[in-house]
Symmetry: C2
Subunit: 517 residues, 2 copies
């Protein structure tokens, strides 16, 4: 029989179990004392109650936020003294990003990890498992592929403190919790800090994971120039901050990823609205980016009567509202999203009728089919706009549509999703028992299966290993904004689900024979 | 009896009349030979057929267009070899403007005019009449106030060849025609080139005439900085090009203007559409400029469902279309104009829902009452926008409205309008007789009483002297654009109406005793 010693707090400080394995395995993890419990053994205990330290996680999120540049003025509150509005400005490969990276490397090393930096600056911190020997193996590629928690430490120019950071901080908290409780995992586990997820400074988002996954060539990524603070390239900035590693930045030949779990804030309002705690992310919705150009005819605002105008701005306003209708009625389930985020009007003079409007359209749907339906409707609307005016023969408005980017719907790995689902039910059910979250319903009411609206590094890893994501509520659904917020309790719930998901996957992989001894 | 000698062309080369006045008047105009006809005598001839030289006028318009800077790229055709699309880029007080001014001074001097430059660079070329002695009078302010044709030689950065230029060129052509035909006017007549009508480089439009009229202080005008090619001030640029004159720039104490007629292209499509040739401008419509700010909430385009958004861009599109309805239905006669020419969206990212939209609104109506009615509706629409969403309590969209500029409706002088009307009927009736323009109707069908949609220097002069304007058709109603065009024949008709209007006013002023001998 196993014996579990409870600490005074909810967090387990020591889990002691007699060794029951038939033979002694070669242990890679040198910092753990001789008392230990393997993941597999852990799961045999039905009353499993391993918990992260909520205070410590919260401290990690906010103490690492000191590595921030002064933020640009935004619509948010700029009061830096209030953590609820202070936000974070940590552009990728900046001096502040270097500080956060240094912290990540130092901390994970001090927790017994071997840390690898690849050629695009991705940092892999690997905590050895029972069944790998990476600690003395210079050829990391030959080691057992770890089960990772991953996300990113870079932020938008005027971003929040949780987007990306929470996932990395929860990964570090996972390492600490495993150490504190002297847990040995079957295979290695680890934490990844992916380079340039935001794509704010170097305008390719999910760049580090994109290179690793083979979707972006290393050379192309290296050449990308900063669009914000300078014109330096990715490679130059990697060298400058000392994070141009020598490990190949490729899933095949570099650091292998056995599985990838990402805890992230929802960045939307659904969990909060439905008073739920965990989003079990099934995948990422399909989306396309378009540039729409509406060409009218410049003319004097005072001398051109309304019926003689070809007003590109007015035509654009009509177009925008019609396209908004597509989100509501133009796809069978009304689950589409349309956003006009960028708009440029020329000549841009108060008393000149607009001759040209160029705007961006971001169009999304949970399924590829739904997005295709929306796109069909978009083409129809543009065509109708031109015909309705009956003027396109003599000058406008002409509407042209150009597709800039397309991303198919992503479906995460079923086994990985199952790990998250079971962990969420376990964590939330457990909390209910302890009176933490009771809300008139069972734990299943605290969990929602959902699609991610945004892209994440997990989209890239999903191509090569079992991947799933865990969402926690975002206050008012706001993100990419200093007022982005997730309550401490919700961060802790998410981190516990992440911890359990990694352990469940470790067990699952062990059982199917992923690890050699 | 008078005797009229016709030249072989339609243009009168010599008009000879015996002197029938009881006593010899002191003549100020020294270049005219002894044969002459006074304006008053001219009008006694019922078959008055004084005509400008259409070829010469056309040549003036296009030959002076050589003083142009290379144009910025626009939506128009940039082919500089085709006068129909070459346009004109002659920013006020630029090197090119200096060349055009030098030409104007040299030409009007060579035609016998005394030329005055005032402290804001307005150039007044005065052809002495029978009843003034300005030619030997250093104190120009004491001379009889001339009847002027005036407009401007400066253009938009990417403007056309007719806006302003036609009025000055037709004024010069008037002087030439008077000289060629040895016409003596009762009082002095002249041509004005007003400084910085466009307000493109130094952003106050109708600046020179505004200072002259007392609406803008000279000091304020001098201090205005260039917003286009440099940051020099008006005064610095006046000095640089040698057009900082010493004549006070003021209607009272500087050059007095007895009456002001301005020939201008319509800059709208009404004359062309109705196949009419002359617009008898009754005044200038009222207008106001507003800045409208719509505040929403920035959020991630992929993660925020449609019903949770406070999308400033979508709200702005709705607002724009509602305000467009005001032009059609929101004022009793549907004669309103609304234009959203400038729009800025922030943060301006393809995948971020707009948090803030700032746009300009230009709102016009022929009457002050009509504009007030539109404004009331505008406030109502903004208010409804905020209420309809029901969200302004928790963050948006908030709509704020700020008035930046207001100009009441201007009514031109009745006597001056009468001069234009009679001249237009005379010129067009006459053309009909000569088979030039017959179009199945009488000459009245070629004339339209209309309001000017745009402001002009005449708005300023109208405060202090009888003023009226003459419009000629603009091709497709386009202006402030290189493809701005008015046919040669229409330019000539306009110039003839201008010539007659000045002469009619000269006679009218003589008859009411405006001139001392």
């Amino acid at each position: 029989m196993s014996r579990v010693l409870w600490s005074s707090s909810q967090t387990i400080k020591y889990v002691v179990a007699p060794r029951s394995r038939p033979r002694l395995l070669k242990r890679g993890f040198v910092t753990t004392p001789s008392l230990f419990l393997t993941t597999t053994e852990l799961w045999r205990l039905n009353e499993f109650n391993l918990k992260i330290d909520s205070d410590r996680l919260w401290d990690t999120v906010h103490s690492t936020a000191r590595w921030t540049a002064p933020r640009a003025a935004t619509s948010g509150n700029n009061d830096g003294d209030d953590v609820r509005t202070a936000g974070l400005a940590r552009l990728t490969l900046s001096a502040e990003d270097k500080q956060a990276r240094d912290w990540f490397v130092d901390t994970t090393r001090s927790l017994g990890c071997r840390v690898h930096v690849d050629q695009i600056g991705n940092i892999f911190a690997i905590r050895p498992g029972l069944r790998d020997n990476t600690i003395n193996n210079e050829n990391a590629g030959m080691a057992a592929a770890a089960t990772f928690a991953g996300s990113h430490l870079d932020s938008q120019p005027s971003g929040g403190r949780f987007d990306g950071v929470l996932g990395v901080a929860a990964g570090v908290e996972m390492l600490r919790t495993l150490n504190d409780n002297q847990i040995e995992t079957e295979g290695p586990v680890g934490v990844i800090n992916w380079t340039n997820e935001e794509g704010a400074k170097f305008p390719i988002s999910m760049m580090g994971s994109g290179v690793w996954s083979g979707q972006i060539s290393l050379d192309d990524a290296w050449k990308v120039k900063s669009v914000i603070t300078s014109t330096s390239t990715v490679k130059e900035d990697l060298e400058r901050i000392g994070y141009l590693g020598d490990v190949p930045a490729h899933f095949d030949g570099g650091i292998r990823v056995g599985a990838h779990f990402e805890l992230h804030i929802e960045q939307g309002p659904r969990l909060e609205k439905s008073r739920q705690k965990i989003g079990i992310v099934q995948g990422v919705q399909a989306y396309k980016w378009f540039t729409i150009v509406v060409k009218g005819r410049e003319a004097h605002a005072g001398t051109t009567d309304m019926s003689s105008r070809v007003d590109a701005m007015q035509a654009s306003a009509q177009l925008m509202l019609k396209v908004h209708q597509i989100a509501k009625h133009g796809c069978s389930d009304g689950k589409g999203l349309v956003t006009f985020g960028r708009l440029k009007v020329s000549p841009g003079s108060v008393n000149t009728i607009a001759g040209l409007v160029e705007m961006s359209l971001d169009m999304r749907h949970p399924t590829d089919e739904g997005l295709a339906e929306m796109e069909e409707n978009l083409y129809r609307v543009c065509k109708t706009m031109m015909n309705a005016t009956g003027r396109n023969k003599d000058g406008g408005p002409e509407v042209t549509l150009q597709q800039d980017f397309a991303s198919n719907a992503i479906k995460f790995d079923e086994r990985a999703i199952e790990c998250v689902e079971q962990s969420a039910l376990s964590v939330l059910g457990d909390m209910e028992e302890h009176g933490g979250l009771r809300d008139g319903g069972g734990s299943h009411q605290k969990v929602q299966k959902m699609m991610s609206g945004a892209g994440h590094d997990s989209v890239r890893t999903n191509l090569h290993c079992p991947t799933a994501m865990i969402f926690v509520p975002s206050k008012d659904g706001i993100s990419h904004n200093p007022v982005e917020w997730t309550d401490k309790e919700d961060c802790a719930i998410g981190a516990n689900v992440l911890l359990q998901s990694v352990l469940r996957m470790d067990k699952m992989r062990y059982e199917r024979g992923d690890f050699y001894e």
